[in-house]
Symmetry: C2
């Protein structure tokens, strides 16, 4: 078994070629982790969520991380973690272009995982409010890869 | 599509019947997320890690969370998050029984994911030091399930 660090460029390529990870943020006292779809471009990670707890957490404490893994055959795996600052892309004139660009990247992905997209109302799912788009500017990044060699 | 909250008992049964999740802790300034194997018994979550950054983070700031998901066919998914306190199970006379019990639970699992188990030395993996066993006592728990109904 061989464990190696991934270079900065390799981490970025890894993030760009994946679409699903786990976002960590700081809740009230405790950390908070959610599965999330993302898109990575030009060293920025774009995500969206319907309004809710995690968005409130991120607005209050904008330090976040995204961890992405890929598990292959025979115990091979890769994992990349980036830490950075949450930045909301509101639907304002100033940020509209960036927001539309984020959506243009995200809508290409299989958005099967949208746990924040629905609000619970008497057991019936209903969307409520518009999505919050945000980016994570990468401040710290690292990646590790395990390969088995005979 | 129907989104529903999972009851406390359902969350526990879900945690007990799964073995892999994502652990969130508080790093230096930023949250930190890692994939991890776990075992859940009697409302406690047991995990282990080789010494390293995440253990240092947890020792410094013992507030942690574990998020576990299960993605099924046709867009069905379940996700449970628990938040609680990290408690180390050191190899002392006082905690040895609990430590051995934690290991007896964990060793039954497929421990294919042990990213912290190896230290990097010139590209060659070597284990270094003994594993750190710890538990997470569940303080806050919630779960959500999405099912598609025709």
């Amino acid at each position: 078994m061989n464990l190696s660090e991934m270079s900065d460029d390799t981490c970025i390529r890894f993030l760009e070629s994946h679409t699903f990870g786990h976002l960590g943020c700081s809740g009230e006292g405790y950390p908070y982790v959610i599965p999330i779809n993302y898109a990575c471009e030009a060293r920025k990670v774009f995500m969206f969520s319907m309004p809710g707890q995690k968005v409130e957490y991120l607005r209050a404490r904008p330090y976040a991380c995204l961890q992405v893994e890929d598990v292959g055959a025979a115990g091979r795996w890769e994992s990349v973690i980036v830490q950075g600052l949450f930045e909301e892309l509101p639907d304002t004139d100033e940020r509209r272009t960036e927001r539309l660009h984020a959506w243009s990247l995200l809508e290409k992905r299989p958005l099967w995982w949208e746990p924040g997209t629905f609000e619970i109302t008497d057991g019936i799912s209903q969307s409520e409010g518009g999505p919050v788009f945000f980016s994570l500017s990468i401040q710290i990044m690292s990646g590790r890869r395990v390969e088995h060699r005979s």
